[in-house]
Symmetry: C2
Subunit: 198 residues, 2 copies
DNA sequence: TATTTATGACACACAGTGTATCTTAAGTGG
DNA sequence: CCACTTAAGATACACTGTGTGTCATAAATA
């Protein structure tokens, strides 16, 4: 799938490897707080991380590869928040908790959503929505894939808008709006299907 | 605003100027059909256009500037399709005609939506939605800006999905789905407001 | 037709990428 | 604790792409 990271196998347990990768990872996160992702060079990252330039390429294929790795981590983390392993609420049922998490990681999340990694985030969100039992809304009328896509992209788009328009709308207001604009309409479509069944 | 194009004034009526810009414009459009926008260099464009390398910079600040210009043109053109000057139907009322137009320009539209110009397209779409009398949906509950943003980004996202999943869904099916997922729910929200008024 | 001016053809400085090579330092595993 | 392994540092280099400066020429303009 070529989404990969490490080119030639390295001992992931070696302390030096872990340290280097953490340094690079954190350097990018720091840099991204002050300048756009585009404007950051590999040299900037290695300088900030205090790591040899060549060393970067021993771990990642390039700037985008590091971002990918970061994205994957972040997505996994978010999944945990949205769908805790226990039988807690579904993602569309605890929007407030989700928004709280997003808010506290606004910087990085916005960077990911505004970078070339955004497409991959969307893809993963669609997969997530399609996962067995996860998507509460399934319609006889509209293909599942389209339902999932619309749900994922709307949620991401609204999240982005909210994070960028800092303070215009409170967290709970936003949760309410998301309900009105996305969740309830999609629920209605799946109810519609149920009615049709009977 | 720095969205501009020409750096030092040139006589726009000079045939040479018009010819050069058209050549560059068309060269980019052609190139984009066969390779990703990212992978195209200014040299590629000037070579294809058969125009001196330096000449490019006499008209545009860089690759992105040319893309911006293209985007602006395209957006204006699309506006004409969506909102013809005559008192014809609103954009949300003639989705089929709109989709037909989009379909016939799929290559370029997808390029724009997948490039760095996408943000600007979204912005313009939001403005368009907010334009006086254009947005059929206004809600007392949800801020106009958010309504417009959700409308614009959902429409763009669904359009992108449709253009990318060639043939999975017919044009009229898609128009129907858009109605169910976006237009009707938003209409319902504005009706809700009306009811509340009474 | 005389004048203006956009263009072409170099040449150049510069920034960033990615690789190759050799040495050194620091973890690892017995 | 020490010998071995291997990741990291330093440096040099080839390469690609950007953006600018200059000057002669061709082609519009008026």
């Amino acid at each position: 799938m070529s989404t990969s990271s490490i080119i030639f196998v390295m001992n992931e347990n070696d302390l030096r490897v872990q340290r280097t990768r953490n340094l690079l990872r954190n350097a990018l996160i720091e840099l991204v707080k002050n300048q756009s992702y585009e404007s950051i060079s590999v040299r900037d990252i290695t300088k900030k991380a205090q790591v040899g330039y060549k060393t970067f390429y021993r771990h990642y294929e390039g700037k985008d590869d590091l971002l990918q790795a970061l994205t994957d981590e972040m997505v996994d983390e978010i999944k945990q928040v949205l769908a805790p392993p226990s039988d807690m609420e579904a993602p569309d049922k605890n929007p407030l908790a989700s928004l709280t998490y997003m808010e506290s990681n606004a910087d990085l999340i916005l960077t990911l959503l505004n970078s070339s990694a955004a497409d991959q985030v969307l893809e993963k969100a669609v997969e997530f929505a399609l996962e067995e039992g996860r998507m509460t809304f399934e319609s006889d009328v509209i293909p599942d894939e389209l339902m999932a896509h619309h749900f994922a992209s709307s949620m991401i788009s609204l999240l982005r808008w909210w994070l960028e328009s800092e303070g215009k709308v409170t967290k709970s207001e936003m949760a309410f709006y998301i309900g009105l604009l996305v969740i309830q309409p999609m629920k209605a479509l799946s109810n519609l299907a149920e009615i049709k069944d009977i």
